[in-house]
């Protein structure tokens, strides 16, 4: 059998360099992909929406009486913390999705295409911002149904939402890093939980720092999640704002500057 054959020049000469526009377009396409999956997966939407509801019901009614004496005043204290808790935990999804994309070979396909090398990561992160926004909206909305009241201004509340989203976007690069380094999505969940649990619960999201033993206070006071929760409390129910907001932003920036390039580097090098 002889091959059909074709003249050697029978294909378009490939472009030498990728234009930056291509990179932006690729990122948009992959953001679209991420959102499309959200639209078609009922389980994911349900999980995203019900998790904050579950946190609120459990923590408010289980801890409320013991921590603050009554449920309502605890809700005012705890809701900004629940907001942080829900969003931070939803960033784990970023790493799990990436890990799954690697395991199923979807990333191999992306890497064999003439597309921007950072687009698959950036697209995933952009898509996830929507997920975090859903988590924030549900926490706030359901909290208000239970009786939470914003005691500042709508503008301050908007700033609170924006801040927690920014923080989550920085944090999700850490999650992405885990997703790119461990074996599978299950490992992401295990390792992520081992880091996320002490980080979130070892803060003032649920209880006041003063009630903790001294050594624990030291940890809590240095924990970036504490700064973020303080900032959220300041912006939603009142109290000092400037210092915790600046600290949260600095932490977010630091995490982004460290983890994003590292994740991109590992993604490019991996296999």
């Amino acid at each position: 059998m002889t091959p059909a054959g074709y003249p050697a020049a029978d294909f378009p000469v490939p472009a030498r360099r990728m234009s930056p526009v291509t990179g932006v377009r690729n990122t948009f396409t992959l953001t679209w992909r991420s959102l499309l999956k959200l639209r078609t997966s009922y389980e994911e939407v349900l999980g995203l929406s019900l998790t904050p509801v579950m946190y609120l019901l459990l923590f408010t009614y289980v801890f409320g009486g013991a921590v603050s004496g009554d449920v309502h005043s605890y809700l005012q204290y705890e809701l900004p913390g629940i907001l942080v808790l829900s969003v931070i935990f939803s960033t784990l999804g970023t790493g799990m999705a990436l890990s799954q994309d690697i395991a199923t070979g979807v990333f191999d396909r992306f890497r064999s295409l003439p597309i921007s090398r950072t687009a698959p990561l950036a697209g995933a992160v952009f898509g996830d911002v929507t997920r975090y926004a859903i988590s924030v909206a549900i926490s706030l909305f359901f909290g208000m149904l239970l009786g939470f009241r914003i005691q500042t201004s709508p503008l301050a509340a908007a700033a609170a939402c924006l801040l927690v989203l920014l923080f989550a976007v920085a944090m999700c690069w850490f999650s992405a890093l885990i997703g790119l380094t461990v074996k599978n999505a299950r490992s992401v969940q295990w390792i992520g939980s081992l880091i996320y649990f002490p980080l979130t619960f070892g803060s003032n999201v649920l209880v006041k720092t003063q009630t903790l033993p001294g050594w624990m206070q030291a940890f809590v006071k240095g924990n970036p999640i504490t700064f973020l929760t303080d900032a959220e409390r300041g912006l939603l129910v009142g109290g000092p704002v400037a210092t915790p907001v600046i600290r949260s932003l600095l932490w977010a920036l630091a995490m982004f500057v460290v983890f994003a390039p590292l994740a991109v580097h590992i993604y490019r090098r991996r296999t």
């Binding site: 059998m1 002889t2 091959p3 059909a4 054959g5 074709y6 050697a8 020049a9 029978d10 294909f11 000469v13 490939p14 472009a15 030498r16 360099r17 990728m18 291509t22 377009r25 690729n26 396409t29 992959l30 679209w32 992909r33 499309l36 999956k37 078609t40 997966s41 199923t104 070979g105 979807v106 191999d108 396909r109 992306f110 890497r111 064999s112 295409l113 003439p114 597309i115 687009a119 296999t271």
Partner: protein
């Protein structure tokens, strides 16, 4: 453009993973427009070779060129020329068939409308139109493989890498994939196909490179490989099965080798190198009054060649 008649050229590819030497100096050449079959057992290094050629993996040594472009230096150009279908169907389970293809088309820079029509065209070609709107997670193994193939063809690649495209498929799905691959060659696409199935290489490949333990152990057309193995196989089936032993004795005497007689199938086969033996055997069988049900001389199957090439060294 560099004028070249070889679409794929690789020299001395070396790759190790820790202590495992996956490739120990592999040369590969695929003629433009031909199907190159890379044949080898599990763990021979086939997938590693494909991953290097498809720019997913950097070789530790050696070099590879796709249409004259170096896979390490000019990876971006190479990616514009190739399509890849992995060993494990790499479609996005969460997306529908249509959206999987539209996504690739959009990534390749096609407009929204062009992407949709290209997706529809490919889904139609691969008989997936009925399942176009369903998530890929609901597809059968064969459907996924076809979608995966379609995804690798969205950008009309000149070179297509198929890493074990039929592993795990039932016979019907396998035949479908085979006919798709034949159709592609007719379009002038160069195909590099890895397989552990000799029949597949025999059916589809113009050229075959056999690799084992990271090394090339044989190259050639399927016919050359069969001839390279030297001897032909003479098969005799006596009409009367009880005379099997007589036939076996006669063949042993004439060929000087021990023939294998299978009482179940009533078949005696022997390796012969001398074609002149045949009339002699026929005459003697006739003299003895042994009536024949079957008498044939054939080239060894690729299976036999393959076992001969890889088996002896273990």
């Amino acid at each position: 453009m560099v004028a070249t008649t070889n679409a794929i050229e690789a020299f001395g590819l070396v790759k190790r993973f820790g202590k495992t030497q996956a490739l120990a100096g592999v040369d590969l050449t695929a003629r433009a427009g031909a199907v190159l079959g890379i044949l080898g057992p599990n763990g021979a290094g086939k997938t590693t070779a494909v991953r290097i050629l498809a720019t997913l993996l950097r070789p530790d040594g050696g070099e590879a060129k796709i249409c004259g472009y170096d896979v390490s230096e000019d990876a971006y150009q190479v990616r514009q020329l190739i399509g890849l279908t992995g060993q494990f169907a790499s479609v996005d389970d969460g997306l529908s068939g249509t959206n999987n293809l539209v996504m690739i088309a959009r990534l390749l820079g096609m407009s929204r409308a062009d992407s949709k029509s290209r997706a529809a065209e490919l889904l139609d070609r691969f008989e997936l139109t009925d399942a176009a709107g369903r998530p890929a997670s609901t597809y059968s193994g064969g459907m996924r493989r076809r979608l995966d193939l379609a995804a690798s063809l969205v950008g009309r690649p000149r070179i297509l890498f198929l890493d074990e495209p039929t592993t795990g498929l039932d016979v019907r799905s396998r035949n479908e994939v085979w006919s798709i691959i034949r159709g592609l060659t007719a379009d002038g696409v160069t195909v590099l196909l890895t397989t552990q199935y000799l029949e597949e290489a025999d059916q589809l490949a113009h050229d075959i490179t056999v690799i084992d333990r990271g090394k090339v152990i044989a190259t050639g057309t399927p016919d050359q490989l069969k001839t390279q193995a030297g001897s032909k196989v003479l098969q005799v089936t006596p009409a009367d099965a009880s005379r099997l032993a007589e036939v076996a004795d006669l063949l042993a005497e004439r060929s000087g080798l021990t023939p294998s007689a299978n009482p179940d199938s009533g078949l005696v086969s022997a390796r012969v190198t001398d074609g002149a033996l045949l009339p002699l055997v026929v005459r003697e069988l006739d003299d003895k009054g042994i009536e024949l049900a079957e008498f044939s001389l054939r080239k060894p199957s690729l299976d036999e060649v393959f076992l001969q090439l890889t088996g002896d060294k273990s």
